[in-house]
């Protein structure tokens, strides 16, 4: 029977062992190495996407290591999970803890991630205090790099939250411009999936649409855990707008696409980069997905002839097609690798300060084209690419690169 005393002994021993094991982990002996922290929600609902992002980043890093590292430095990776069972998905508190972990580990010179902006909000102040730069391939909430909130998110002043995606401040409004200018939409109904990303992009889309004279007939919010959206879609049908805009990720997106093809077959339908990906193609399938517009917050990678071999290598190594964010993660890794190279080349010691400065002044050739950052850490290139799902029977139905037809760049907002 467990007496109190024996319990305390057992607990302290376990705690001791745990503490020792934690420290034992970092006993890696290395000649010249630098560490990159990768913080993604590997636990919970976003785990699948997190894996794809990680794979994109690791592809670049492993390839660099295979060629002897960067300027003689071997790249090590510190994988951290900001998803918890408690939240069932990304957990800002865990993200904050992970940020501290990375800051505390002196070998970490830069980070990739986070995936979700909610984590980013918690991490950014900590990273700023620790002068540790992170490059995120998918966090699009504009607040984090907005100079208005600089006091909150980068107390030390310098930009540390870099992105290889454009923020919702552009993705939403530019698509509204596209609706107005190219699709000649006069009235629209806006939906979001009640998540942080979805609400944000739907808000910015809606604001710009109104500015451009498109009548917004209504705005509603879907519950991604629910399945039946026929109520909302029927309501939309009765209001008869020219078009529908969905801001959100695939969890609700798949169901919207499927059910809208039944209820709103003729309407113009589009959304943000949550609708761009294999999950939509796999989950919704054809004919439901046919005709949907989607945007990505980056220039079109297919235009870049260097993209195809990378995509092939990804598919070969990981057995599946890369997603949009796998590519941006690959690019994020390239940015960091390039920064390390330049710091080493200039003769300076590879510290996180130096790496941050190098990232700030980056001119890196990536799959998205040339990447440069502005003073806030945002991509200077604000190109939003518009795609449309058009079935191409020559390729498998979930082949993202060939089922999404590139239509062009969305008109920039003034």
């Amino acid at each position: 029977m467990l007496s109190r005393r024996s319990l305390i002994i057992q607990l302290s021993t376990t705690a001791l062992v745990g503490a020792l094991a934690t420290h034992a982990r970092s006993a890696a002996a290395a000649d010249k190495t630098v560490k990159i922290g990768i913080n993604l929600p590997f636990t919970g609902a976003d785990a699948h996407d997190a894996e794809l992002i990680k794979d994109g980043a690791l592809l670049a890093i492993d390839e660099a290591n295979a060629q002897g590292g960067v300027a003689g430095y071997k790249i090590e990776v510190l994988l951290l999970d900001d998803g918890t069972a408690t939240a069932g998905q990304y957990d800002p508190a865990q993200a904050a803890t992970n940020a501290r972990k990375m800051v505390a580990d002196k070998e970490v010179v830069a980070a990739i991630g986070p995936q979700m902006s909610g984590s980013g909000k918690a991490m950014s102040p900590i990273l700023s205090q620790g002068d540790l730069a992170t490059v995120t391939p998918s966090s699009t909430n504009p607040d984090i790099t907005d100079p208005k909130f600089a006091g909150q998110y980068r107390p030390k002043g310098k930009a540390i939250y870099f992105r290889t995606v454009t923020t919702d401040a552009f993705q939403g409004p530019n698509m509204a411009n596209y609706y107005a200018d190219v699709l000649k939409v006069k009235s629209v109904y806006v939906l979001d999936d009640s998540g942080a990303y979805g609400v944000g992009i739907a808000d910015t889309f809606q604001a710009q649409a109104e500015k451009r004279g498109i009548k917004v007939l209504g705005r509603d919010q879907l519950n991604p855990k629910e399945t039946d959206y026929s109520t909302t879609l029927t309501k939309i049908k009765s209001l008869n707008p020219d078009a529908l805009y969905y801001g959100g990720v695939a969890q609700a997106g798949v169901k919207v696409v499927k059910q809208a093809s039944d209820i709103l077959p003729k309407m113009i339908k589009g959304g943000g980069d949550g609708l761009y990906g294999a999950e939509i193609l796999r989950g919704a399938g054809f004919p439901a997905a046919e005709g949907w517009y989607a945007t990505i917050a980056a220039p079109n990678i297919l235009e870049n002839p260097d993209a195809a071999p990378v995509i092939d290598r990804f598919a070969k190594k990981y057995g599946q097609q890369p997603e949009n964010y796998s590519i941006t993660a690959y690019d994020a890794a390239l940015v960091i690798l390039d920064a390390v190279k330049r710091v080493a080349a200039s003769g300076k010691e590879v510290t996180r300060d130096a790496v941050r400065d190098a990232i700030q002044t980056a001119h890196v050739k990536t799959l998205q084209g040339e990447i440069t950052f502005d003073d806030n850490g945002d991509l200077r290139n604000r190109e939003i690419s518009v795609f449309r799902i058009v079935k191409d029977d020559k390729y498998p139905p979930d082949d993202v690169l060939h089922q999404y037809k590139y239509l062009g760049v969305a008109p920039q907002s003034s």
């Binding site: 919010q221 109520t231 009765s238 798949v254 209820i263 989950g283 004919p287």
Partner: protein, 309 residues
């Protein structure tokens, strides 16, 4: 669409949803009537069954919505799928009862309910970890047929739901009221001790209740998959809570109550979404749940009063 037309369409939508909720609610009510236990695992039995249905259809070579069958082939495929899914659901339900609930029979308090929460989590996570978080495109052999009645659209699959759900509910009703086992179930629900003394094998009755309820959940799951062309690890959660509200609204422990409650909740969901906004649906439904439990605990048809004796 005119106002009238859209409302009518929403009623059609609501009845389809309601049929599914009714099937799920029946499972809750059967178990609650006998054991006075709220079985949280029920809605994840539903979720797991939908995957089983998917695999059963894939076994027949059907994938996606492309493989459409008609006539006897269609009937055969559906019968096979229903049989497999309902059996799987029933077996899973019985296994849960045997392994995790029977040892706790007689333990006062909420220990059993807490255990069902644990089982629910286990089922949920096993699927999440093995199949992943993605949405699955459900194999569907049904041809897409639409009829237009004025402004209202009716689909073949809608009729399928109504037909199958009604058939199952009628069968259950007959079973509970006309067969010996059904009578034994009703007796046990009223007074387990007395039933035992009258020679009713209460254990067998409980197993039967779990089997039936879970099989119905399996049927609901297959219907769900065919109707939405979709399944994923998350479908149990919202559907389960709504079905539970339906059971409570109709009167927990009452079979006709679950049916009526299901339809009512379906209608409230669609009409509430149309007239107010979809973002408030959950709040509306939970408020109904709370109000019913507080002010009319017997629900519409029930006799069991959820208060301490």
């Amino acid at each position: 669409m005119s106002d009238y037309g859209v409302l009518l369409q929403q009623v059609v939508n609501g009845l389809s949803l309601g049929a599914m909720y009714a099937l799920l609610a029946l499972g809750f009510t059967l178990v609650y009537g006998i054991l006075e236990l709220i079985n949280f695992a029920h809605f994840n039995v539903f979720m797991v069954s939908s995957f089983v249905g998917m695999w059963a259809l894939e076994l027949l070579g059907i994938s996606g919505q492309g493989h459409v069958l008609t006539g006897p082939a269609l009937a055969g495929a559906l019968v096979f799928a229903f049989a497999v899914t309902m059996l799987a659901g029933g077996v899973l339900g019985v296994a849960i009862e045997r392994l995790s609930l029977r040892p706790l029979r007689g333990v006062p308090g909420t220990a059993a309910m807490i255990t069902t929460i644990g089982v629910s989590y286990i089922l949920f996570n096993v699927i999440l970890l093995t199949v992943g978080a993605g949405s699955e495109n459900y194999p569907n052999p049904l041809p897409v047929v639409r009829w237009q009645f004025g402004e209202v659209t009716l689909e073949l699959k809608t009729l399928l739901i109504w037909g199958v759900a009604t058939a199952l509910m009628m069968t259950l009703h007959l079973f509970v009221n006309r067969t010996r086992l059904g009578k034994a179930m009703r007796a046990t629900a009223q007074d387990a001790e007395a039933a035992r003394m009258m020679g009713v094998d209460v254990d067998r009755v409980i197993v039967a209740a779990f089997f039936l309820g879970s099989a119905l959940a399996g049927a609901a799951a297959l219907i769900f998959g065919l109707y939405y062309n979709y399944t994923s690890f998350i479908i149990g959660y919202t559907a389960g809570l709504r079905a539970f509200t339906a059971a409570v609204l109709g009167g927990i422990g009452s079979v006709p109550g679950a049916m009526v409650g299901g339809v009512l909740i379906g209608l409230i969901e669609t009409l509430g979404g149309q007239l107010i906004a979809v973002r408030w649906t959950d709040v509306i439904i939970f408020s109904i749940l709370i109000l019913v439990l507080v002010f009319v605990p017997t629900g519409l048809f029930g006799r069991a009063v959820p208060t301490k004796s």
